[in-house]
């Protein structure tokens, strides 16, 4: 295993181990996402019929809001007891630490999304599983784009006092295109006549955005973490 992959794996394994013990991030993120979908379902479902086109937006709002909550806590474990300093002092490629943290967040959000997708499909009678692979592609790429920027910002803000306020202020303007692409692609799948060509276009655009975001994040992580 190469040094980069080994370090990323060590960070992921450590985060999963800690999460398996306190379930702090999983429970808060999941609870928030489920509450979000439930509240919207009371507003947008009348007489057992959902408002047309609402499901896609609500799915992505739940992901974005709960994702922000998770990202806000991504580096909290490192902040407590200054473990971040221990990580940064290790003779490793620092971007590998970033990748490890990012994978941990993606795994967490994957669990949340699995629950949220089922809830949205059930409460809004949305045929989300009709084109399951396309939905999977949109969710995976959208989440990757959102989380790649969010993990970098979370690391940048770890030493700032008002990080809880600053994270969404910084994150949303940058990731709004990703969220719009996710919503538009999902909406295309949920039309009475699913528009797969349009969904494909949004998937391609998400791929491009992800590549740019990931490259920039990997490039800037090291200088961002140096005092």
């Amino acid at each position: 295993m190469s040094g980069f992959v080994r370090v990323a794996w060590l960070v992921v394994r450590k985060d999963l181990r800690v999460e398996s013990r306190n379930k702090e991030m999983l429970l808060t993120t999941l609870f928030f996402a489920v509450s979000c979908v439930l509240v919207f379902s009371f507003g947008f479902v009348r007489g057992g019929q959902a408002v047309e086109g609402a499901a896609a937006g609500i799915l992505w709002i739940a992901i974005a809001f709960s994702g922000t909550l998770a990202l806000g806590r991504a580096f909290e474990r490192e902040r407590y007891h200054d473990a971040l300093r221990g990580l940064l002092l290790a003779p490793v490629d620092r971007p590998a630490i970033y990748v490890g943290k990012l994978i941990g967040i993606l795994l967490l959000l994957a669990v949340v999304e699995a629950v949220v997708v089922v809830m949205v499909a059930f409460l809004f009678q949305a045929p989300l599983f009709q084109h399951g692979w396309w939905l999977l592609a949109l969710l995976s790429l959208g989440t990757l784009g959102f989380a790649s920027v969010g993990t970098l910002f979370s690391a940048m803000l770890v030493r700032t006092r008002s990080r809880a306020v600053l994270l969404p202020v910084l994150l949303y303007p940058v990731t709004i295109p990703v969220l719009i692409m996710g919503v538009s692609g999902t909406a295309a799948l949920l039309q009475p006549e699913p528009d797969l060509a349009l969904a494909r276009l949004w998937v391609s655009l998400l791929c491009s955005f992800d590549m740019v975001f990931l490259t920039l994040a990997l490039w800037t992580f090291e200088p961002v973490m140096t005092e």
């Binding site: 450590k14 407590y80 007891h81 300093r85 002092l89 290790a90 003779p91 490793v92």
Partner: protein, 262 residues
């Protein structure tokens, strides 16, 4: 992780280093040479810049001005390999409280790519006196136990430069003595040791050199008398606007060749 020979160094030289945070100057024109086989004590009141100096030495903080050289190279020139030669026990213990003692050490052993990590971890647990609590989560440990574990974490990779920020915090008398013994062993092994502390009694008789940081400026302590007396004298002198500037440390109980400070 195998290191290039160039990562080995006998001396760390801080040359005219200043560090500014916004409009606040944490360090001003600090020069200091730390040599192998020495224990250098950095003393000073709260907010004097001790932690900033240790941060600079650890490579985690970059100077706003001046440079820190490890042997003949700066941190930027030496790259990641240099960090394998630095061990840092900070006031915050850099441990994950949800992980067990063993898991914490295994995680850092993995990051450092150590050979025989399992053996090294067992040895470290034994040195920390935590062999019987190895699989307990750190959250349940007392401050002293955490401190001992953090010390072993900082020394796990046998670093050349060892930095301590308030290492005696939370330790009982026996643990303090054990730490002093450990520090002497590190000195005998020709490590470069820099420790910042307020605990003057614990380090009196241990230090090869003592320097005072006050308002970001560094000065050498006089070499006569107890450490507490010298510290008070230096503080008083500083308060009267005449900090002791003693580049020559060849007198008194501080050995010759110990380097200079200004």
């Amino acid at each position: 992780m195998p290191l290039p020979d160039s990562a080995e160094f006998e001396q760390v030289t801080v040359s005219d280093v200043s560090r500014v945070y916004g409009r606040r100057r944490a360090l001003a024109h600090v020069s200091l040479t730390c040599s192998a086989g020495q224990i250098i004590g950095v003393l000073g009141p709260n907010g004097a810049g001790k932690s900033t100096l240790l941060g600079l030495l650890s490579t985690l903080t970059e100077p706003s001005r001046g440079q820190v050289r490890y042997g003949d190279r700066t941190a930027r020139e030496a790259g990641a390999a240099l960090r394998a030669q630095v061990g840092f026990l900070s006031h915050d213990l850099q441990l994950y409280p949800e992980l067990s003692a063993r898991e914490n050490l295994e995680f850092f052993a993995g990051l450092y790519g150590l050979d025989r990590p399992a053996e090294r971890v067992v040895e470290a647990l034994s040195s920390a006196g935590l062999a019987d609590r190895a699989d307990d989560v750190v959250e349940g440990f007392s401050r002293g136990m955490r401190q001992r574990l953090a010390l072993e974490r900082a020394l796990l990779h046998s670093p050349r430069l060892v930095l301590f920020d308030e290492p005696f915090t939370g330790l009982d008398e026996a643990a303090c003595e054990a730490l002093v013994t450990r520090l002497r062993a590190l000195r005998a092994a020709r490590r470069i040791i820099v420790l910042a502390t307020h605990d003057l009694d614990a380090v009196d008789g241990l230090l090869d050199r003592a320097v005072l940081l006050r308002k970001g400026r560094l000065s050498e302590l006089e070499s006569q008398g107890s450490l507490r007396e010298r510290y008070r004298a230096a503080l008083t002198a500083g308060a009267r606007g005449r900090l002791v500037e003693a580049p020559d440390t060849a007198k008194g109980r501080f050995p010759a060749g110990a380097g200079e400070a200004r």
